[in-house]
Amino acid sequence: MTREEILKDLKQRFKEDIVNFFDKSPKRVYMEIKPESLVKCASYIFKELKARFNIASGVDSRTAIEILYHFSLEYINLLVSLRVKLNRNNPQIDSLAPVFKGANWIEREIHEILGVDFKGHPDLRRLLLPDEWPKGVYPLRCDYTEWDKNAIRDRGV
């Protein structure tokens, strides 16, 4: 399949789910979809289009928490990024870890640094942060302030 055919197929198939489709450059495509249709789209891209899951990146953009799932289709040199926007107060989304194992660790990471709840994740433990890190403090949220009063930060930027 060529690039045009795949993009047309995606647009056709997920007509109801796509919020916004942004064809940035020959190698990059951004697709904003509804959070509830993530598993459907991601499994289609991973299993049927034989894409490789690169990574998910979570972003706190002050208005919403965005998660971008990047998939690369090597045979046409295209990177498809699925974008979902979640409610900042109660971010929740279905987990992709049951679909493919590659999503396991990154969801654990996003869970602890941005506080997104992945429903259906098999093992949502802490990955990177220490055990004494307080609950409900997420370092990559934009309103994060130092919780530890003992920390020494004695040098200017």
């Binding site: 990059r28 990146s57 990047h70 040199n77 590659g102 942060l129």
Partner: protein, 394 residues
Amino acid sequence: MAKSVIPIGPYHPLQEEPEFFTLTVDGETVVDIDVNIGYNHRGIEKLSELKTFDQSTFVIERICGICSTSHPFAYTRAVEDIIPVEVPERAKYIRTTIAEGERVHSHLLWLGLAGHFLGYNTVYMWVWKLREEILDVMEILSGNRNNYAIFKPGGVRRDFNPDDIPLALRKIDSIVPTLNKLKKAIIDDPVLHARLKGIGILTREDALDYCALGPTSRASGVAKDVRKDAPYGAYDQVDWDMIVTQNGDVFEKVVVRVLEVFESIKIMKQCLMNLPPGEIDLNIKNIPPGEGIGAHEAPRGETFHYVRSDGTNRPARHKVRAPTFMNLPTCKSTVIGETISDATIILASVDPCYCCTERMAVRTSEGKRIYGGQDLIRLSQEKTQRIRRKMGIK
């Protein structure tokens, strides 16, 4: 037989970095494994948001000492993807040379450590002796042994000195015969065959399911390499082959890495000989708002950076995905069922790099203590004093 739990790490001579594996073993056979990382987490993604686009390059370089060009390479490509621009030809060649030099030294480093894990210290010493030569080449070309500090968004920071290039080429040529000898010694060693063949097999299906990257997946027959699939830098202008093997055991991973060293040397030599003239830097001043993605085939697999700019001079979000992050979870499928002796080399065979993985569980497995921390310190200080007195130090 009762199952027991073997902790590996966090401070373990297996690797120079801290990591913590909990192996549940039945006799000598591993029945379960749990990976507990985070001893290296420094919050680089957050730090990067505090720095300007130019300063970030230096922070990114210190994500990992071995991958100190892979991360800046991917990061600068991500920034250039926001604008978007193409860097000048000469800069591309310089970047490619440095990146391949890093691949050579990283693979040699891993090879030496693998020898060390197997108790084969002679290989460790010989390979690291060879690695010093490559570091010398890098020092000639870039001025630094490890953190080359040569990348910047829009080009490279320093040009190669034309007088140094023949010297570097001579030095590279002088490495090749020794490398050939080493290749023969490693690939034909019967004891290494006995130790490494058929253990820790990662099947092709598992490699795809875990989204494994780099030599780890290429040893399992997954022919994916960013340098071939989405060419960047000078990779589409030089002649080289992708090394793919089929079995996916530890031995094949060694073979892939050894052969890749030769390909990298080939690329380095071609780049140095055909270095095009011209500018090396675009002098990018403003980064418009937007998002960019950059990928680079690091020695361990694809490094992936996502940068978002909001029009200021600092990244609004910078996501770093190191290859080990995807490769390490494969240990679930490779280690279980093997013995403890093999577990270490299998865990090492993905060439784990925790510094990268954790950019950013203390279990009390070493026994419960009756003293509190303060008591222990006091006791230990008293003891030190006593011994110091005994030994005649004030």
